[in-house]
Amino acid sequence: MNKDPKLPEIDRGTEVFSVDPLIVRDHFEVEYIHSFKQDTPFFHGLSKKKILGSHCRKCRYKYATPRTRCMYCSGPTEWFELPSEGRVHSWTVCYYAAEEFLKDVPFTLILVEFNGVDTLFLSRLIGVEREDTHIGMKVRSKFRRKATWSVRDVYFVRAG
């Protein structure tokens, strides 16, 4: 039996922002095992240079994003390929961002509308200055050659 048990000292210390109230630096990190579940075909589609939307089999409403069931009639949907060209429905240029995207600023976000499709698709537009970006502008999808299995594998450029 140890007569004088003792915890080892920690030499690296702790970064202190404020003494009173005591505010210290702390760290938290986590790895996820993220499943796309029923949306998996959408990501398979991106790897084949296709954006897949969902088409209600019952009421024929067409969504530019994956939805297993129709939000109007609860009917099951089937996948369909969105046109490669669309128009800017709305847009912005971000000069600040969430930490993860600070490295990208300034970047342009767009909502794309497609002929014959009832809803929109959120993406990035590249290669166009803010002064030249406008609602109604024709845009075309492009895809990363090496899939990262993220919705960022598709982006848009000016069409024509």
């Binding site: 938290f28 429905h89 912005t92 240029v93 969430a98 930490e99 976000l109 929109l120």
Partner: protein
């Protein structure tokens, strides 16, 4: 923080009500990421001395506080409690602003929205860009709202920012997400607010001048704003279908959840023309643009007339229907779980006509305020609550 707010509320009742008289609580905070403490609601319940009474935590993005208020109302209206405490807080200073924006953006679809740009300022910017396209709304009109709210807040000691701004100051404050600028957007905040809700009998016993809740409404919309419909406007009693013949609604320019919440709350409170029948409003202006869009959702003017509504000064302190006399989220800050309750506290004081007592000056007191609306709103309009309060 929550303790401080609760103590203030109990003190305001002149010691007639104590923690012992509270039957249960609803506690609201938005983000477990900010607290980095799951069940932080249970800690509040414990540390303010409410154990072993019943308690539930409620969360719904930016509308967390408004939902908490309505949940507490339900617990009293159902007869379950005589006195319910609605207590909300948020501690956003635990991370830097860019990380805070990331946490908030995790409230957007993390498969389809977050990875693209993960940034609410960007989402709301796209929503107002479409509003500008549909209706001709201008950046100056947004700036006028920021100026109004910031200047109101100069007389509110509880506001986070006390900045007397001009339209020029706002216009020059730098783009964050075009066309939204620094002063068009609320800040990260730490804050807490507490409301005590009671049955009529309990209210009479504990409070000299209670305020009655006469209307409750809430609505929701698609998680991804890209999925929103382009259909017809749900009409308020004073609107006609021909008003909106060409308008595709809500698209991304308006908030269907806000309109739905307003319809339900007005119906319950018997309001048929909100502009005429309300005296004061505290609404969710996380962005100057969302205040402008909300004028229309609430039916204070028709869709498309929000810009003119502020141009004519109708929502200023001396206007026809003062909106955000407190300074709103733009100037008071937006400690998410507390925000909707902060609005309720300000409305309570407005209708009691006790602003002078609590603010130390009466400049923001809306004279003869009898009936008011509070409005709480979550990311891109996924949840919205409207509650009507009245001086008996």
């Amino acid at each position: 923080m929550v303790q401080e707010a609760l103590d203030y509320a109990l003190h305001d009742l002149g010691g007639k009500l104590s923690v012992r008289d509270i039957d249960g609580s609803v506690i609201s905070y938005f983000s477990d990421h900010f607290t980095r403490q799951l069940k932080a609601g249970a800690m509040v319940q414990d540390f303010v001395g409410l154990c072993p009474k019943p308690h539930v935590r409620i969360e719904g993005g930016g509308a967390t506080g408004g939902l908490c208020f309505q949940q507490a109302w339900e617990s009293v209206a159902s007869g379950r409690y005589d006195v319910a405490a609605a207590m909300g807080f948020e501690t956003m200073s635990h991370v830097e602003t860019a990380k805070g924006n990331e946490f908030i953006a995790l409230a957007s679809d993390t498969n389809f929205d977050f990875p693209v740009g993960g940034y609410y300022n960007g989402y709301y910017a796209m929503m107002v860009v479409r509003h500008m396209h549909e209706f001709g709304t201008t950046e100056e009109q947004l700036a006028r709202i920021a100026v109004k709210n910031h200047n109101n807040a100069c007389h509110n000691p509880y506001a986070q920012e006390h900045l007397a701004l001009t339209v020029e100051d706002v216009m020059k404050s730098g783009y964050i997400a075009w066309p939204l600028k620094r002063h068009d957007i609320c800040t990260m905040s730490d804050g807490a607010a507490v409301c005590l809700l009671a049955s009529e009998k309990a209210a009479e016993k504990f409070c000299k001048n209670p305020i009655r809740i006469t209307g409750i409404g809430a609505g929701s919309d698609c998680m991804r704003f890209a999925d929103r419909p382009h259909g017809k406007v749900p009409l308020l009693p004073h609107e006609r279908e021909k008003d909106y013949k060409k308008l595709k609604y809500p698209g991304v320019h308006s908030f269907r959840a806000g309109r739905t919440a307003a319809i339900l709350a007005y119906k319950m409170a018997g309001i048929t023309n909100p502009l005429e029948e309300l005296d004061v409003i505290e609404l969710h202006d996380a962005y100057s643009s969302s205040e402008l869009q909300t004028y229309e959702d609430l039916g204070l003017c028709k869709y498309g007339e929000g810009g003119r509504f502020i141009d004519e000064g109708r929502s200023t302190l001396s206007g026809q229907l003062p909106v955000n006399p407190s300074g709103g989220l733009l100037a008071c800050g937006h400690p998410v779980g507390a925000t909707g309750l902060m609005q309720a506290v300000c409305m309570f004081w407005q209708l009691q006509r006790s602003i002078k007592t609590h603010f130390g000056n009466g400049k923001l007191q809306v004279k003869k305020a009898k009936r008011g609306l509070i409005h709480s709103h979550a990311g891109t309009g996924t949840y919205v609550t409207c509650s009507i309060m009245e001086r008996p």
